[in-house]
């Protein structure tokens, strides 16, 4: 248990450090939320000052931080000035939307990458490998943004799928099945972009790891015992090749809340991305801190989960 305990403590320290840094940087950025209001001649400066003190924005940084920590320990993440709602309920909805997108994309990407990578590795030296390397190189060099825009353009021209957003305007009026179809239709483009962004590197890693394992002696020994090719690939080689892939999977998990920011903004998907962007620009400080903390939490959990999986999968890491 010592190892897990250490990781958890380490994670908590990291969260604290991130929160401090976040506050610091948010403070460093000039201005505050109410600066916009100051420009409005109809609102008097006294009102602005009163609003500022009401929200405690005139307090020094350590005091504000201390109050924030106290309320977080009570479960209250603060208040959003722009949306006029508690940060927590806002985050929950937006994070849910983001997670819907990223979990589907991660699942699809890995489900394609593993069999494809294994198959390419088994055909090492052939045309399949050369084609795969060329294809992955291409998609690695094309920026995510370009892919998103190209797909959007095509969708707008052909009207095949909705161009952006998560639901249609008349979503609430639809029946249960129609609602599902509508969601699915909106899913396709953003998920495709995310999958195309992450797939090349996954395929390359799976292929590389498999090729290395397939050169090992125990694989030749298994062949020498008459074990079939498919069995060797998936039952013998893949479990050993899994080590570096598990670390990669941990990275996928870690990025579940943060990797889709650009896509969400471009596609108008109501997730954590656009929220964070808006809040950063308008100095909605508690939203920013809350969103960053949520992402950090996922990163830490992803890393710990990957390490746990590594121990479960590889018996050499354990000690009896």
């Amino acid at each position: 248990m010592k190892y897990l305990e250490r990781r958890v403590v380490h994670g908590m320290l990291l969260l604290i450090a991130v929160s401090i840094l976040c506050f610091l940087f948010a403070d460093l950025a000039p201005g505050s939320f109410f600066d916009e209001m100051k420009l409005n001649p109809q609102i008097s400066s006294e009102t602005v000052a009163a609003l500022r003190s009401q929200y405690g924005l005139d307090q020094p940084l350590p005091v504000r931080y201390g109050r924030w920590v106290k309320s977080v320990l009570r479960g209250d993440l603060g208040y959003s000035f722009a949306y006029n709602t508690p940060v927590r309920s806002l985050l929950v909805i937006r994070a849910r939307n983001t997670l819907l997108l990223t979990t589907s994309a991660t699942l699809v990407a890995w489900l394609i990458a593993i069999p494809l990578g294994v198959w390419i590795a088994s055909r090492s030296g052939g045309w399949e490998e050369r084609l795969a390397m060329a294809g992955t190189s291409f998609f690695l060099s094309v920026p995510e943004l370009v892919v998103a825009l190209v797909l959007l353009y095509w969708v707008v021209r052909t009207h095949a799928l909705p161009a952006g957003g998560m639901m249609s305007v008349d979503f609430d009026d639809l029946g249960a099945w129609a609602k599902l179809c509508d969601l699915a239709a909106h899913f396709v483009v953003p998920v495709t972009v995310l999958v195309l962004a992450s797939l090349p590197i996954l395929i390359r890693h799976v292929r590389a790891s498999m090729v290395e394992v397939l050169g090992a002696q125990f694989i030749q020994a298994a062949r020498g015992h008459g074990i079939g090719r498919l069995r060797i690939l998936f039952h013998y080689a893949l479990p050993v090749a899994a080590n570096p892939l598990i670390s990669l999977f941990g990275l996928s998990l870690a990025g579940l809340l943060s990797s889709s920011l650009l896509v969400e903004v471009v596609m108008g998907w109501p997730g954590l991305g656009p929220l964070l962007l808006e809040a950063s620009i308008s100095r909605d400080v508690y939203v920013v801190v809350g969103a960053v903390m949520a992402s950090t939490l996922f990163m830490i959990l992803g890393g710990i989960l990957a390490d746990v999986m590594l121990v479960v999968v590889d018996p050499r890491v354990r000690v009896e």
């Binding site: 030749q220 020498g224 015992h225 008459g226 079939g228 999968v313 018996p315 050499r316």
Partner: protein
């Protein structure tokens, strides 16, 4: 037990008959041959020792007998195994043969086993590949195989991972994997290399017992001829991809005919307790070493290092001569 039945030239009574096997890696007739014109027979139930150093082609021979040569390797000759020419067999025929009718004990069992699978499962996989049955029957057969190689605490070993077992235990597991499907031919490729002396003799005992109980033939490949006494029936001496001498072990060891065999037998480690070399003395050795240039010669490959060489050895290649008592040698000056 194998009994000499006179000359085994026709190969009709042999279980496995290799004729004129020539293997080249890297294609083209100019490339070096890993094996050149190798011919020998293996009768049912006999133990044949193949002695050779690095570069002798013994590993290539082992791979050929199991169909594990890389696709690019060119091959000539034939390997007759019960009315089938294995050299021309396709992959699906091979898969039915490997592990079930011809199986191999690989060098360094620590590396020949998957590090993330339990040992018992790995033996069961071999059974699963060749025979129908359920998990329970496989478990039983697996445990039977482990006790056959004289491992105690069979249950714990079945559940263990390779890194939890000692070197000796791993070697026995490798043997168990090779014998579990009762093959007719077992190939042991340097199965005792780098093992300490106690383990070496134990493993040889296990192999002897397996051969006696199951009647499977054993091809024991080694670089140390001393291991073959009291163990193998016949010996085949290889050098630079060719067979230079073969015959019954006792005959060859008592009266080696080829200069290389003579040199090799002088090197075999002596029992500690005999007189060691005195001050200023040196160990006997075969001078020089095999180089790629030697292999391309038109004459005898061993000639540069041979103490009995004459002019003819450089210009002509010595063909194989069959002498009495089923002894064969490729040398112009055999027996001198």
């Amino acid at each position: 037990m194998w009994t000499p039945s006179g000359t085994v030239t026709s190969g009709a009574s042999a279980l496995l008959s290799v004729q004129g096997l020539t293997v080249r890696y890297g294609g083209g007739r100019q490339s070096l041959a890993a094996l050149s014109g190798v011919s020998f027979d293996l009768a049912a139930g006999e133990i044949v020792g193949i002695v050779g150093e690095s570069g002798s082609g013994k590993s290539t021979l082992a791979l050929s007998l199991l169909g594990l040569l890389p696709a690019k390797a060119s091959r000539e000759g034939s390997i007759q195994f019960q009315d089938q020419d294995l050299l021309r067999a396709d992959e699906s025929s091979w898969r039915a043969i490997r592990g079930a009718r011809i199986s191999m004990i690989f060098q360094e069992p620590g590396l020949a086993l998957s590090p993330v699978m339990r040992v018992g499962d790995q033996i069961a996989e071999v059974i699963r590949a060749h025979r129908p049955g359920n998990g329970k029957s496989r478990k039983r057969e697996c445990e039977a195989a482990l006790s056959e190689v004289r491992l105690s605490d069979v249950d714990r070993i079945c559940k263990a991972y390779p890194h939890q077992l000692s070197g000796g235990q791993l070697h026995r597991v490798a043997i168990a994997q090779a014998v579990v499907c009762r093959p007719e031919v077992i190939i042991a490729d340097e199965a005792t290399r780098s093992l300490d002396i106690t383990l070496q003799s134990e493993i040889i005992d296990v192999l002897r017992e397996v051969n006696r109980k199951s009647g499977s033939s054993l091809v024991f490949i080694t670089h140390n001829p001393a291991l073959l006494s009291g163990f193998a029936d016949r010996v085949i001496v290889m050098y630079a991809g060719r067979i230079v001498e073969q015959g019954p072990v006792t005959q060859v060891f008592r009266r080696p005919l080829h200069p290389y065999t003579k040199g090799l037998l002088q090197l075999a480690p002596r029992y500690p307790g005999q007189e060691a070399i005195t001050d200023g003395g040196r160990l006997p050795s075969i001078p020089g070493s095999l180089s790629d240039a030697d292999r391309l010669t038109g004459g005898c490959v061993f000639e540069p290092r041979c103490s009995a060489r004459t002019a003819i050895c450089q210009s002509e290649f010595p063909a194989e001569i069959t002498l009495e008592q089923d002894r064969r040698v490729s040398c112009f000056h055999h027996g001198n």
